[in-house]
């Protein structure tokens, strides 16, 4: 189901917790599984549950709680913009509108070329630096003016 390399990484995460607390590694295990597969299918979540010895629904709870986990296949790049209250007051809604217009898609949609997916995110703990955009779950970009958003989109488009 998962590559030997991924399983080795998951084992490393499991080792960080006491033996009877394997389930504590569920978040890390899901990140590793998603890095390999691109998204978390029912089968992948089932596998992670079985690997950690916990109920499948417990994995599903975690995977659906955090917006970083993808429960369906996405575009090559996922842009998540925080629209929680502090960010909203700092102009993130306008930034989101700009992104929507630039990409021609709404939240939870993917561009027709399959390159970008736009997501609405929950608080990323960087309210003072709003608007905040998270690129592919790993890279956080702050103070996102329209110019910086355009530059970001250009940069990500070029890499093709």
């Amino acid at each position: 189901m998962l590559s030997a390399e991924s399983l080795r990484k998951i084992d490393r995460e499991i080792a960080k917790y006491p033996a009877e607390r394997r389930q504590s590694a569920v978040m890390a295990a899901l990140v590793i599984a998603q890095d390999e597969k691109g998204w978390l299918s029912t089968e992948t979540m089932d596998f992670v549950a079985q690997y950690l010895g916990i109920a499948p629904v417990a994995v599903y709870e975690v995977a659906s709680f955090y917006t970083m986990y993808n429960r369906e296949p996405l575009g090559t790049h996922k842009l998540t913009i925080c629209t929680c209250l502090p960010c909203g007051l700092q102009g993130s809604l306008a930034a989101a509108d700009h992104l929507k217009k630039r990409l021609g898609i709404d939240f939870n949609e993917t561009t027709p070329d399959g390159w970008f997916t736009l997501r609405e995110g929950e608080c990323m703990g960087a309210c003072a630096m709003a608007p905040v955009v998270l690129v592919d779950n790993k890279r956080m970009c702050d103070y996102m003016t329209n110019d910086k958003l355009d530059a970001l989109v250009d940069e990500l488009s070029r890499k093709s």
Partner: protein
């Protein structure tokens, strides 16, 4: 011990007690939804907020441990303001559909909104909608918008049921309760989630829209299925049992009920209830008057044996034993322990003590399915660190941490017990428990003796409601089962011989059969309609020796009569001494005769002849009695018959055996035993021991096959044989 003050009343409680529990002891009610005394604390409904002196904010009473000198106000303006605020939040998304909600009238949210809610809502916006879920045939989750996310159902699965079948996905306003994608709730304790749900989100599917709680009268009763004897509240409307709920009894079922005890009531009103006596005339069963039927019955029963159900009441079994050789251990096959026992085999300890054991060996038990609530007790013990060892012929998931498991073929079971001596040594409170499979085993006496030789407490997990009561009633009588089966005439008491006996052919050689049954049947020359447990008074003696008496909840259906009355009349007609009684109380006191049941119980067995050798050539059959096939009542509950546990039996084999026989999973096969054959589907269970085939008993599809234990062969079913 900390002393604190709640609403001006002082109380001293153990450290670690929560404020809500301390208040309860003072008789002060604090409103709550997510808190439940048997579940872990979640503190997510926030309804139990109270004012605590020197605390800047109101505190949740369920999650706040007491401290010395604490001062708490549950009804102060600050506390009331917090509670009213929480109630307003809870009602924001709750639909105002109480008039069509099944929970109406017994809804905690409805009740508390009267005390803590506003008379009108300030919320004018759209309410959120949560889609309905299909959780299977027992629990209805059709209106999940009613859910207030207390997570009691989720915690129940995790902590009591042993498997987390429901979870809460998403977050914030999008949070909702789901089962894992596409799965139903299959726990044998799932009905308890309906009781736990404080709103109308999870309701009973069989009971849906059939009555309002205030239309129902409540009668207490005792469950007639497994040996636990769960206490019931039977709810009745217009002389019909509409619903069964648990009656809390900390020493027996706590506040829980197995699905079997909860939903089997559907069978009481089954369309095939026998309402008039029937007599066979010219090969056909025809309706008859009681007088004629009784005369025909008495005539043929002058020299008869009695097969009585272990689910029959104490009084019925006592009178049945006066009519001839009688036995109630229908699924047992080894009676060599008779005469060697020091007393009545029983659990060996009170039910509540199961939870205090620190080491247990369970031999031959489908524990979860045969004894759902005893399994729950043991699960709690295992979670506290008790070592549970399993010796069995199948490896089903027990949903609890096991210290070890040994899976061997049925004929190797007795020989494998001694090896556990070391594993049980040195425990403070160890026990060995013999399950249904061990009691039904052809070497049951040898298993019993081997278990006794371990030198720890010994117990039997009672198969049926009166597995202990049958012995108290004086059965086996007149030589027991071997003598009963020699008779040409048989009296059946609440027995469907093809489904309820160790050998489905048990009644076949009898030339005259009187069948006392609550349901129509093809078996018998005379059918006398008797009533199920809700229509008669009676007594069950549970597996822990608890004598529990109950009264009728509704009147008998049609012309059916309580079996004790029918047996009394037959006794009089046959001139049997000691059968003339006017009331059931007289029968009961004659049966118990002032004896202390506890003094009759003993699991000691004297050494006897060597165990009968079980043939080891060929493949061995492993037969379980599926949970929803165990007695005539539960077999007639349509909802239980739709569950996964009630799927038709298959021929389960491990991969090596399938390969050896040239079979594939899902292929139609023909299973043969000496007595007969059955057409089944091959199925793969790689945890089965070598050369064993698991084929369930107590099912019409396997009744022709033969006895529960023995040699079986399996071959590919050809098309001709299918036709």
């Amino acid at each position: 011990m900390p002393t604190l003050e709640i609403d001006g009343k002082a109380i001293e409680v153990a450290a670690g007690t929560s404020v809500i529990e301390a208040a309860k002891r003072l008789g002060i009610f604090i409103p709550h939804f997510c808190y439940h005394p048997k579940l872990s604390v979640a503190a997510n409904c926030r309804m139990c907020l109270v004012e605590v002196e020197k605390a800047p904010k109101p505190m949740p009473a369920c999650a706040t441990p007491v401290a010395d000198g604490m001062k708490i106000w549950t009804q102060s303006p600050a506390a009331r303001k917090a509670q009213n605020g929480v109630m307003e939040f809870l009602l924001i998304n709750h639909p105002l559909d109480c008039p069509i909600c099944d929970q109406g009238g017994e809804c905690q949210l409805q009740d508390l909104s009267v005390g803590y809610g506003g008379s009108a809502s300030r919320y004018q916006e759209e309410k959120r909608v949560v889609l309905h879920k299909d959780l299977g045939p027992l629990v209805a989750a059709e209106e999940m918008s009613r859910c207030i996310q207390c997570t009691r159902c989720v915690r129940f699965g995790e902590e009591i049921g042993g498997v987390m079948e429901l979870g809460m996905i998403n977050r914030g306003e999008h949070a909702e309760i789901v089962s894992f994608i596409g799965r139903s709730v299959d726990s044998e304790l799932s009905g308890n989630m309906i009781d736990l749900c404080p709103v109308g989100a999870l309701t009973s599917k069989p009971f849906r829209y059939s009555a309002r709680t205030w239309e129902l009268s409540r009668r207490r009763s005792v469950a007639p299925h497994d040996g636990l004897g769960s206490n019931l509240v039977v709810q009745v409307k217009q002389n019909r049992v509409m619903r069964v709920l648990p009656l809390e009894n900390g020493a027996v079922n706590e506040c829980w009920l197995s699905d079997k005890d909860r939903f089997s009531y559907e069978g009481l009103n089954a369309p095939d209830r026998l309402l008039r006596p029937m007599v066979r005339r010219g090969g056909r069963l025809e309706e008859a008057e009681w007088e004629e039927a009784l005369e025909r019955a008495a005539e043929g029963l002058r020299d008869a044996g009695v097969l009585a159900s272990p689910h029959a009441t104490l009084e019925e079994l006592y009178l049945a034993g006066k009519l001839g050789p009688a036995d109630f251990r229908l699924r047992h096959s080894d009676f060599s322990a008779d005469g060697r026992r020091a007393g009545i085999p029983w659990l060996g300890m009170p039910v509540a003590e199961l939870g205090t054991l620190d080491r247990v060996l369970v031999v031959g038990s489908f524990l979860r399915k045969d004894h759902p609530l005893l399994a729950h007790r043991m699960r709690q013990a295992a979670k506290r660190g008790a070592q549970v060892h399993v010796l069995h012929s199948v490896d089903d998931d027990w949903l609890m941490p096991l210290a070890s498991k040994t899976i061997v073929a049925p004929n190797a079971l007795a020989g494998a017990i001694a090896a556990f001596k070391e594993r049980l040594a040195g425990a403070k409170n160890a026990a060995v428990l013999l399950g249904n499979f061990a009691q039904q085993h052809p070497q049951a006496a040898a298993l019993h003796a081997a278990a006794q030789a371990l030198g720890v407490q010994l117990g039997f997990l009672g198969e049926a409601a009166n597995s202990v009561g049958g012995y108290v009633a004086g059965l086996p009588a007149g030589g027991g089962m071997p003598e009963v089966l020699k008779k040409d005439a048989l009296l059946l008491l609440n027995v469907e011989p093809r489904l309820d006996c160790a050998d489905p052919r048990a009644a076949e050689r009898a030339r005259f059969i009187v069948n006392l049954s609550a349901w129509r049947s093809d078996v018998g020359d005379v059918l006398l309609p008797i009533v199920p447990f809700t229509e008669t008074a009676g007594t069950f003696v549970s597996t822990e020796g608890r004598v529990q008496t109950f009264n009728a909840c509704v009147l008998p259906a049609g012309e059916a009569r309580p079996a004790w009355k029918v047996l009394r009349v037959l006794g009089t007609m046959l001139d049997r001494p000691g059968t003339a009684f006017d009331t059931i109380e007289e029968v009961r006191s004659a049966c118990l005769a002032g004896r202390d049941v506890a003094a009759l119980l003993s699991n000691r067995i004297e050494a006897g002849a060597a165990a009968p050798v079980v043939a080891s050539a060929g493949l061995q059959r492993i037969a379980e009695v599926p949970i929803y096939a165990a007695d005539p009542l539960v077999r007639r509950s349509p909802s239980l018959q739709k569950t996964r546990d009630a799927r038709p039996p298959r021929a389960w084999m491990n991969a090596r055996l399938l390969q050896k026989l040239g079979l594939a999973e899902g292929q139609p096969v023909l299973a043969r035993m000496q007595a007969g054959q059955a057409r089944l589907t091959a199925a793969l269970d790689d945890k089965l021991p070598e050369d064993c085939v698991r084929i369930a008993a107590a099912h019409a599809a396997t009744a022709d096959l033969g006895p529960m234990f023995g040699t079986v062969s399996v071959e590919k079913a050809s098309v001709e044989k299918v036709a």
